[in-house]
Point group: C2
Chain length 350, copies 2
DNA sequence: TGTTAGCACTCTCAACCTCAAAGTGCTAAC
DNA sequence: GTTAGCACTTTGAGGTTGAGAGTGCTAACA
């Protein structure tokens, strides 16, 4: 069966209305509030037909209609009316990003907080995966007792450090020496590339082979996000949405949310190309039953900036969420793009 | 009124029974299950008296008795029977701490996880506050474009780093030079001490005064715990306890738990001397209504190792929790005490 | 052929009742 | 001081009722 324009219109009304009222939608309110000139009986016929097509369901005979996951998908693809953010929302984004401090940790938290505050949903995010970042600076610092600290600073100022074991026989001077050699070898390379380069150069390292091995191992761990790069903001915001009066939903939600690993899995960068992804839970993937996860993968100047989004009830205000995600993306691009230029002004006010 | 021995005994039975059953305790079960030789009517008289003294309450006339906060306090101070951990619990602690990797982040997470797993409550923790740590190694690394990275490694391998702004006129060699001067000045000092030393030396720094200023500012931020030093493990464990069938309790809980700042406030080091602290929520302090927070502050070799504990319902298994906290403390002390000795063995298996 | 008024039907939800079960307080006897 | 016994209170499950909401269907209408 082909979807008539009126069916689409009615479906759109049902989804919009349900998203904003959280109450099953009846033929009466559609006819009286949104579709003047048509009687409720006519709407009822259309509703019955939309139900047959799989877009609507009802909990019981006299309960009004509720959109199915399929309806939400259709809504997002075809029916949703893109809006603009209010002035105050735009101002909020701008002010939140204006106090720029170099490090990513801070940026990750800001992005997540902005998204959560503006959408009123719980925000999840995962920072830039460093794998393709260029090593700007690599240093090995002696820390006594057979240990050294490996510090790596990359292009967009992602900082990684970890301790590595070194032979106890190595004096501080040896370490400094090794540091210079490693720096020469690795600086300017991407982290992923560095691993290969390291493996190849392994043979030349003679007695310090062990050190090189450790450095390569450390480089490997950088391909996975650290716990600190996974953020969660506004977990308590779920209580602003009536579906979470039901303890079962809260349980589902909290179980996912309580482990950084699970969050990372949920929003993990399965696909770099996708700008905005909407996933509606129905038991298939990691998305909890009755939940939706909307994420955006950000990039600027060819650099991945991480994936951020919200997790909330299936009855989510997709329009608002997507608009916020888009605007945050734009702001982020400007911020990162304009950072070098702005650096001078940024010094005096501290 | 003086508390007779029998009253104490009965109070202890009520608290124990309620902790384990979560059901209001009746005179009948006390007399039949725990206090043979006395009739339920006698117990009833005692219960009425204990209620008058403020130790017990009942939700309604025929509902059995429930301990009041005052009863829990009394129980913890006088009545609780200290127990030992089971073999398997002890093994678990040992195995969890046996794979030692130098960095504190890892340790913090392990401690918190062990506590949560063994107690079956949500565990909260805050890592060692670095303020009294000795600076073992301080380095300033040039990062181009008027920025440098300040890396500080302290005694128990707490690692802190942050970017600081430097005059753009400074060449890499200048930075390295400054790094040497700063290292000489600060190494061996405690972080708190370093701030004063820095302020005093400020005048001598001439054109690099600005750099020194930034370093001191960075040192200041180390006195507060970072978000990463505040841990939360097993938030979903609350659903194993019947009080969290009630959505209101979950709300209270999640609201506190959802912000690292609030957690830090909750368990913040108000008192270094206290080994184990039990706080029972009744709206006075940060502890949420109907919740208890039990924490232990750990130290070894004169070094603070952080504060860890659990947050859960007032009807908490205090005996188990306190036993676990004590045993974790012992294990931690051994671990940190024995670390230098063990370092050699620890290398081969990687 | 599409639309609509009208009505019977279904389902929920709150209010109310009833009744058994649990536990207490009190009294009188030991 | 202890206890048996009993009246009293309260809860909670189960059942009933009636109002309200919303639908599906039918028959009439444009």
């Amino acid at each position: 069966m082909k979807m008539s324009d009126r069916k689409k219109k009615i479906l759109q009304i049902v989804v919009d209305e349900y998203i904003h009222s959280a109450v099953p939608v009846s033929s009466k309110v559609i006819a009286e509030k949104h579709l003047q000139g048509v009687s409720s009986a006519t709407v009822r016929n259309e509703l019955a037909s939309l139900e047959e097509l799989g877009y609507l369901t009802q909990f019981h005979t006299s309960g009004g209609r509720v959109p199915s996951p399929q309806a939400y998908r259709f809504y997002i693809e075809e029916l949703m009316q893109r809006g603009n953010l209010s002035e105050s929302d735009l101002d909020y984004i701008e002010s939140a990003f204006s106090e720029r401090s170099g490090d990513v940790e801070h940026l990750i938290k800001s992005v997540s907080k902005v998204i959560s505050d503006l959408t009123d949903y719980t925000s999840v995010g995962i920072g830039p995966h460093a794998d393709e970042e260029t090593i700007r600076n690599l240093t090995l610092l002696p820390c006594g007792e057979g240990r050294a600290l490996l510090v790596i600073v990359t292009g967009t100022r992602i900082l990684r450090d970890s301790f590595i074991d070194i032979p106890e026989s190595m004096a501080d001077a040896d370490v400094e020496n090794a540091s210079r050699v490693l720096a020469k070898l690795f600086e300017g390379k991407a982290l992923s590339e560095a691993r290969t380069v390291g493996e190849e150069a392994l043979a030349e390292f003679g007695q310090y082979r062990q050190v090189m091995r450790e450095v390569i191992d450390a480089l490997k761990t950088y391909s996975r996000p650290r716990d600190e790069d996974v953020v969660l903001t506004g977990a308590d915001k779920i209580f602003n949405h009536p579906e979470y009066e039901d303890i079962e939903n809260v349980k589902n939600f909290l179980t996912v949310i309580s482990s950084k690993d699970k969050i990372a899995e949920l929003i993990g960068d399965d696909n770099d190309e996708i700008q905005i992804s909407v996933r509606i839970g129905s038991g298939e993937d990691d998305v909890p039953e009755d939940c939706s996860v909307v994420t955006a993968t950000y990039a600027a100047g060819g650099k991945n900036l991480g994936t951020y989004g919200v997790i909330g009830p299936m009855r989510m205000d997709y329009t608002k969420v997507i608009t916020v995600l888009e605007n945050v993306g734009k702001a982020l691009e400007e911020l990162v793009g304009g950072r070098i230029k702005d650096k001078k002004d940024n010094k005096d006010h501290e």
